[in-house]
């Protein structure tokens, strides 16, 4: 150890001593139409510079000799040039970079490289430039755009393991850990400039997350001075989109302003009933205080209403003859009405301070406030028939599955006929729901059917500050502090009483299941004993009402060390999290344990990661990363039935993640490639669910904890320039993501009729679901110097596993089944979402025209050209299971299918 320290010390001294002559590089980065690209990273050695609003960069302190200079901007191809620095000032002129992918047809650009400095193939064994830890490698761009259509997730990681930030401030939802992408959706242009890292690679704005991190640069001074407007037409999730973004650039008076707005509209998307009514707004104002300091205010939001789709069983898809059948809608007043509407608006307000303390030390501080609401509506009903058309007893198969009845083919055929021909059978019969409510009102009874909205209103104050310090040409330090105070209120609101036209409904705030089970106990069915039998009217809160408080703080640091043949880094993160629940209702099932504040649960976590890059030459690199991370459980991982109780599971465990990956990277002017082997072990993961338990005839909350998983695999990305205008791109990943132990499930019965219990889940070696474990894409990219461009890619997906029902892999579920019984394997074996690999073909073509200073663009993107309508994107077993008959056909898996052929046409103008 002593010797190691000595060695490091020696390295510092020698490197400081050999500081020699330095030079300043200058240039302007533009896209292929010549529009300047602000916010691009210019990396020389271990130094990073940013282009300003006019795309200009100045890189000073560059040593003489040959060096690689690399330009990185999210959404554009990374471009590396090798140059020889031999004077105190090198002017590189205009450097054009190409758009990396046609991003859903949005704002397609492309072009050829017309660099003013030719690349030098002949790299000498000297100062080998460092790798850029950016998201811009062939695999990442293809995986995150093209393959996402098949729900491919790189390395099988869930969203909660990625991080999105603005000015170093995390935009994740503290309840789930997932980034709230919908908060800035529709603001593509205003949020397009990002700095990203993939996997464990270090970033200079945060400790990072397992699957990567990106920091969106919203500084108005970094936005190009232009007005851009685009109109898109599509048949995918919406029909029309209009986006307008305008920036002043940094003006002489020291101000810079960006405004943006957009709307996305559609009466119905690819799936019927999925209407889209989304708006977004964005304002960013930056004031340069002096040459060292700037202050920036940014506010944005995306109010959106969307009609949702629900997965259903294959029987329904087959009956209707479409894998895009959506049970959520029905005709009302001759119009399609969706019962499940998501309505969200969560504005973000950010105040940032950028301070270049010296030319080596930068301090970035952001104070953020966000607030707003998300809500999803749903039908609810009281002592009446299930209004959902795909309820299992309404399907022809029930005639065969009903254990109390002898199958009758003629009856099944009759129901099949109704499904095929009667809209009111296969969709929600809204008129009937109104009629039943009307009859109830005539009898003076409470409404039978209502639409409720399940709401989550949050507010959050967060502070993030980090410093970047270039200690010397070999050592770069980044460190920061984050504090986050979060509160959300979770409740139900009466959205629509489904009444009117001369009758008025009402609703009583009790739980009908508890009422049925305990008819003589007037307290137990109360949702709020403080307001027993309360009459609920439109707009009233009912059902459940509780607050979640989550506070956290983080302290982190990263050291990056750059030497001739080795780069290495080490990073450390300490964090503390505490959360508690406050019940605003006294629930009758848990009268002593639902109202008021729960105990506070606190967790201390740490994370450490390190990596080394061996630079064999400027053409060949070996990279090794490793990390050990502990993660506090989330609120929902530990609270049992948080809607009605303050109780947590007895065995709270901290998650542990151990991850490492090894990559080999090739960088030739005509060929870039990366191959990576990775292995990540998750320990003590938790999964929560809620379902109707047939054995007990009640809803149960089910928390599976202590889950261990391993994600192993290989990923490959290759880009070959075949001829100057044509490139070949290959990306692929073969994974093996498995459960490795038998976790425990904690079961709580919602109607309070049974004490809480635990079950062992036999799921060792089961596959992790939610992503194809194998996916690949091969594509051609054509870019003509006259601003023509086209892409064609063929994609393959395989090994997508259906999410399994843990309660079916228990001793309790197999009660009465003995070895040799063929049902044993049927009940316990995991299914694939599709047995054969699935293929899709995508293409896009576009053209830009430059007339004076105006750039007009048009692009068309076609996804799934061959119209493959058989590709399940996600499938899950129903959690309901008949413990008596053990008949799996009664509650078969539900599926979502990937869209068939869709198009996205965009026309844009840029001034």
């Amino acid at each position: 150890m002593k010797r190691f320290l000595l060695l490091i010390l020696l390295m510092f001294i020698t490197t400081t001593l050999i500081e020699a002559q330095t030079s300043t590089l200058e240039g302007i980065v533009t896209d292929i139409t010549g529009s300047p690209l602000p916010g691009a990273s210019v990396n020389v050695g271990n130094k990073t510079f940013k282009t300003d609003a006019s795309g200009k960069f100045t890189s000073d302190g560059i040593g003489y000799g040959k060096t690689d200079i690399t330009f990185v901007l999210d959404g554009y191809e990374t471009k590396t040039m090798n140059i020889e620095v031999n004077s105190s000032s090198v002017k590189l002129g205009y450097i054009q970079v190409k758009t990396s992918v046609a991003d859903n047809g949005n704002d397609n650009q492309g072009g050829t490289t017309l660099s003013t400095v030719e690349s030098d193939d002949d790299i000498k064994d000297q100062n080998v430039s460092s790798l850029l830890h950016s998201a811009n490698d062939p695999f990442v761009s293809i995986a995150s755009y093209t393959l996402s259509a098949g729900y491919f997730r790189p390395r099988g990681y869930d969203n909660e393991y990625s991080e999105v930030l603005i000015g170093g401030l995390e935009l994740s939802d503290p309840e789930t850990g997932r980034p709230n992408f919908s908060d800035w959706s529709g603001l593509n242009d205003a949020t397009r400039y990002k700095e990203s890292s993939y996997g464990l690679n270090p970033t200079r704005f945060s400790f990072g997350a397992l699957s990567g991190a990106s920091d969106i640069d919203v500084r108005a001074s970094h936005q190009p001075k232009q007005i851009k407007a685009s109109y898109s037409y599509s048949n995918a999730t919406y029909t029309n989109r209009v986006m307008v973004t305008a920036s002043t650039g940094m003006m002489k008076n020291g101000w810079a302003v960006t405004v943006a707005g957009s709307t996305r509209q559609g009466n119905t998307g690819y799936v019927k009933g999925t209407f889209y009514d989304a708006w977004s707004y964005f304002l960013s104002v930056e004031k340069k205080i002096n040459s060292k300091q700037s202050i920036s205010f940014t506010g944005f939001g995306s109010p959106a209403k969307r009609g949702m789709q629900s997965a259903t069983v294959q029987e329904c898809y087959d009956l209707v003859g479409s894998n895009y059948y959506n049970p959520n809608w029905g005709l009302q007043d001759g119009k399609v009405r969706n019962a499940k509407v998501r309505n969200s608006h969560e504005p973000q307000l950010l105040l940032s301070h950028f301070y270049d303390i010296t030319d080596k030390i930068k301090l970035t501080t952001t104070l953020g406030y966000s607030f707003g609401r998300t809500g999803t509506t749903a039908l609810n009903w009281y002592n009446s028939a299930d209004p959902r058309p795909d309820y299992y007893r309404y399907l022809p198969s029930w005639q065969y599955n009903n254990p109390a009845s002898t199958p009758d083919p003629t009856v099944a055929a009759q129901i099949t006929d109704l499904w095929k021909n009667d809209e009111n059978t296969r969709q929600i019969d809204w008129d009937n729901l109104y009629q039943v409510n009307y009859l109830s009102a005539l009898s003076g009874e409470q409404s039978r059917y209502i639409v409720e909205e399940r709401r989550l209103d949050h507010s959050q104050i967060a502070l993030a500050s980090h410093v970047n310090y270039e200690i010397n040409k070999h050592i770069f330090f980044t460190g920061g502090l984050n504090v986050n105070l979060y509160k959300s209120r979770n409740y139900k609101v009466m959205n629509d009483m489904l009444d009117g036209n001369g009758y008025t409904g009402y609703w009583i705030d009790i739980d009908q299941f508890a009422q049925q089970d305990f008819p003589t106990d007037s307290n137990i069915a109360q949702n709020d004993m403080n307001n027993p039998n309360r009459i609920v009217k439109k707009g009233d809160v009912f059902g459940y009402d509780y607050d979640i408080h989550i506070n956290s703080a983080k302290l982190w640091g990263l050291g990056e060390f750059t030497y001739n043949h080795f780069d290495f880094y080490a990073a450390l993160n300490f964090s503390g999290t505490q959360f508690w629940r406050v019940g605003n209702m006294k629930n009758g099932r848990f009268a002593d344990d639902s109202y008021g504040k729960s105990a506070t649960h606190s967790f201390l976590d740490y994370a450490v990661k390190a990596g080394v890059t061996y630079k064999l030459s400027g053409r060949h690199y070996f990279v090794f990363n490793t990390a050990y991370i502990t993660t506090a459980p989330t609120f929902n991982d530990v609270y049992i039935s948080p809607r009605i109780r303050n109780t947590v599971i007895s065995d709270i465990r901290t998650g542990k993640i151990f991850s490492c990956d090894l990559s080999y990277i090739i960088r030739y002017p005509k060929v870039t490639a990366r191959i990576t082997a990775f292995n990540t072990n998750f320990q003590n993961d938790t999964k929560t669910m809620s379902f109707f338990q047939d054995d007990l005839s009640t809803y149960v909350d089910y928390i599976v904890f202590g889950i261990n998983k391993t994600h192993q695999g290989i990923e490959l990305g290759v880009e070959v320039k075949l001829i100057p205008v044509l490139s070949l791109e290959i990306a692929g990943s073969i994974g093996n993501y498995r459960y490795t132990n038998r976790p425990t499930a904690y079961m709580s019965v919602e109607n309070g009729s049974q004490p809480d219990s635990t079950q062992k889940i036999y799921c060792k070696n089961f596959y992790v679901s939610g992503t194809p474990q194998t996916a690949g894409s091969i594509g051609l990219k054509f870019v003509h110097p006259k601003f023509w461009y086209a892409n064609l890619s063929a994609n393959i997906y395989a090994n997508n596993w259906v999410d399994f029902n843990p309660s079916r892999r228990t001793l309790e579920a197999l009660d009465g089944i003995y070895p040799g019984d063929e049902r044993l394997s049927l009940i316990t074996e995991q299914q694939k979402a599709y047995n054969n690999p699935q293929f899709t073909l995508d293409a896009s073509v576009g053209k830009n025209i430059k007339i004076n200073k105006v750039v007009l663009g048009i692009s068309v993107r076609m996804t799934n050209i061959l119209n493959n309508t058989k590709m399940v994107t996600s499938g899950f077993e129903q959690l309901r299971f008949n413990y008596t008959t053990k008949n799996l056909d009664e509650f078969p898996p539900k599926y979502f299918y990937g869209f068939g052929r869709t198009y996205f046409i965009t026309a844009s103008v840029k001034i």
Binding site: I227, N267, Q332, S405, R448
Partner: protein, 429 residues
Amino acid sequence: MKAIRVLRKIWVLLLVVPAIFISGCTKKFDVPPVEIPKFDLPSGATIISIRQLKAMHSAGGFESITDNLYVTGKVISSDETGNIYKEMFIQDTSGGLLISLDNTSLYTTYRLGQRIYVKCQGLYLGEYGGLVQLGASVGGAIGRIADPVIKQYLFLDSIPGAIPAATVITIPTITPDKYGMLVELQNVHFVEVAQLFSLSTASTNRTISDGANNLIMRTSNYATFATTSIPSGVGTIYGILGFFSPDNQLMIRDLNDLVGFDYSTKLVINESFATTGSLGTFSQYSVSGPQVWAQSTYSSSTFAKMSGFAGGVYTANEDWLISPSMNLDLYSGEILNFFTMMNFGTAGDGSLRIYYSTDYVSGDPTTSTWTEITTAALSTGTFVSTPSGDIDLSAVVGTNVHIAFKYTCSTSGVATWEVGGILVKGTKI
């Protein structure tokens, strides 16, 4: 001031362009107008009376209805309380009809007094327990009409109106033509006063009596009023008249069907010794002899049993079976009721005596003061089950009253006694 010019352009674009789309996308749903359903008989269809329809069924048969026939009637049953389950009764002037339907919330659509038309073509007639019903063919036998197709056979006409007047009947004059109809029984009472309408384990038959004749009232254990105590007094009972071979039976729809009854009579003690191996709320004390009172079963009957005969040997015993403590100050008009079965003894030999005490606490009963109850009718032998008759305890007062059964025997003439169905009921003050 180029910036200002730029901004001006921006706002125009921001406001004007998206505004084009607003108009097309606002979603407002009209509330459907109140629908007054109207049924129009399809051409070629014939309406027949319920009596005519039921006449198409022959006893024990299973008939497919192939002709284009309709019946019409008003709904007289409701499944709201769950007592009537997956069944609906309609009636016209000719009679009542049971329709078997696979739905558990029929009453939200088919409300009391709702006129409906039933398309009989494609349906079947059959019987269950001897009662004719209209339903579907399920595996070649009469069964329930599947939920998704109910609306293909049942049609609403107008909104719910007046419920047909109940037909006044008397128990001895019930005729099959009244089956399936809403009936009214006047001046009747319940035999099992203060017991639950239904046991929790299964549907339960209780007895309606006019003093001379009895009629079964059948109640589902899933009915919301299953755990209510049967009221006392004489009153009027409404309900759907049915038949389950060989008995007529009545089903009430809810407690509103009982008029003029008194619910204040409650059970103070209700011990049927139904739990194997347990004397339930009772306890036993052995003053002498090795044998003790114990729970026992014969056929479907459960009771506490005591005998001095064991292992071929007669042993002298004195054993007490003692009730839990009762606070009779909370009640008036208390009545004790039980049954006994005796064998091997001599009728009236005093080997079983019944007492009450107001000062017994626990343990040895011989140190407390016991007053004998001599008015109970007791079994006279050969295990003949003998109801005790209503024993008036209204004179007994106190907050700590116990009832006890004292068994005594010597080594000869040893009797076996079985005691069960012990009820103490009273009117809550």
